[in-house]
């Protein structure tokens, strides 16, 4: 099965292709917001501290899952692999897909000399999050540390609603 699903880095040419998957997990996501968010992730901070977005694709090249990653310095563990924005849709066979996604992250972490992995997920479908935690626990992960979240009130000029200056050709009105 593993060789029927392939891990591939997302690149600038495939940002748009990943969008339908992202919209499946975050229904109100726009193409503009996704593009604006993901582009900086595709450029490493430095050659020694890589970051990017990894996708899992099937034999036909369709993107079935993805996660963002970054290698960071950690006071206790030296180099640590962070994975977040884990997007795995609810589809039959998803446990295999989770295993493949987690496996890809672990291989990447090992290749980058990391001593530990942090996996963070939030914001997706609740059931999916629960299932993902179960899947991570099966692979040897355990809840660790604590993170707290507070949504701040939007200030003028920072609406966070996708009005980010990225323009797009409206559908149905394009002419050559």
């Amino acid at each position: 099965m593993v060789d029927m699903l392939t891990a591939r880095f997302l690149d600038r040419r495939t940002i748009d292709k990943a969008y339908p998957l992202v919209r499946t997990i975050v229904p109100d996501m726009t193409v503009a917001r996704w593009t604006q968010f993901v582009r900086p992730h595709l450029v490493p901070r430095s050659p020694d501290w890589p970051r990017g977005v990894m996708t899992i694709q099937n034999a036909a090249g369709y993107i079935l899952s993805l996660f963002a990653f970054e290698v960071r310095a950690d006071l206790q563990e030296s180099r640590v692999f962070y994975m977040d924005h884990i997007m795995i849709p609810n589809l039959p066979g998803r446990e295999t897909l989770w295993a493949c996604t987690i496996g890809a992250a672990e291989r990447l972490a090992e290749m980058n000399g990391c001593r530990a992995i942090w996996a963070e997920f939030r914001g997706g479908a609740q059931r999916s999050d629960r299932d993902l935690l179960t899947s991570l626990e099966r692979s040897g992960y355990a809840p660790a540390g604590a993170r707290a979240f507070k949504r701040l009130e939007a200030k003028s000029g920072h609406t966070g609603d996708g009005s980010d200056g990225v323009t797009r050709v409206p559908r149905g009105s394009y002419d050559a």
Binding site: P20, L21, L64, P89, N90, P92, A125, G172, Y174, A176
Partner: protein
């Protein structure tokens, strides 16, 4: 629209199989929809053994949908997964301003409703007379645990609404209307070949308006582009629904932006 004229439920496969056997049919195996399914060979069902096929048939209902009739609507509870045995389906979302955005076309052998939350995130409508196999989601998922190679093939090979939406994003990345239309025609051709049908002539189950909506173009632009390609001898419009690809290599170059 989901009136009785839209939908014919031909019942579950096993009871029809049993009925035929009880009535002493000399060809009871022909009653199973899997045996006569033209999409089976290239669908996720292909590797099933006779026993596994029987178990799948036990949870399957075959449904016939008339053209332009709804299969399910956005926000309906996502209780069922479908495979398309024959026909073409469009999936679309209704936008906040009332407009409709087609996000993909699905063909025989493809899955429908595979990816879900609690409700369908889009609507699905038959474009031509369409036959579907319908599986209750929970029972299908339970069966997949017992038939792991079906699950694997489904993940690795199956095409579904997410794949169709990704195809659309690739097409929308094409810059000009001409590149989009040609890429779309070639996509239909490739899809037909992949699904065991002739890739030339290309059969257009969808209207020009649907194509325009899907490609982010106006209907006039789509029609004008077809006419222009015809005048240049790159395609031949056999009738409203069929296109012959006269100069495949040139069409490929256009699709690639050369």
């Amino acid at each position: 629209m989901r009136s009785s004229t839209c939908r014919t439920d031909t019942g579950d496969a096993v009871s029809r199989f049993s009925l035929a056997a009880r009535e002493g049919s000399h060809l009871p195996h022909l009653v199973s929809p899997c045996d006569t399914c033209q999409a089976r060979e290239f669908s996720a069902c292909a590797p099933l053994t006779a026993e596994e096929q029987k178990r799948l048939a036990a949870i399957t209902r075959t449904i016939n949908i008339a053209p332009h009739c709804s299969i399910f609507d956005e926000a309906d509870p996502a209780e069922y997964v479908y495979t398309i045995s024959a026909g073409t389906v469009k999936v679309y979302k209704l936008l906040g301003d009332g407009r409709r955005q087609i996000t993909g076309f699905l063909f025989a052998g493809d899955f429908l409703g595979l990816i879900h939350n609690e409700a369908y995130a889009y609507s699905a409508e038959a474009l031509v007379p369409t036959r579907l196999c319908r599986f209750p989601r929970r029972r299908l998922e339970a069966l997949l645990v017992e038939i792991p190679h079906l699950e694997q093939r489904l993940l690795a090979m199956a095409s579904h609404e997410l794949a169709a939406a990704q195809d659309q994003m690739v097409l929308l990345g094409r810059k000009s209307a001409r590149e989009r239309v040609v890429s779309f025609i070639l996509m239909l051709s490739n899809s037909a070949t992949r699904h065991g049908r002739p890739g030339d002539p290309v059969f257009l189950a969808m209207s020009r308006s649907d194509i325009a909506d899907y490609l982010g173009l106006t209907t006039e632009t789509v029609s004008r582009t077809f006419t222009s390609l015809k005048k240049q001898g790159l395609i031949e419009l056999l009738d409203e629904k069929r296109i012959r690809l006269s100069k495949m290599s040139v069409l490929r170059e256009i699709a690639e932006g050369f």
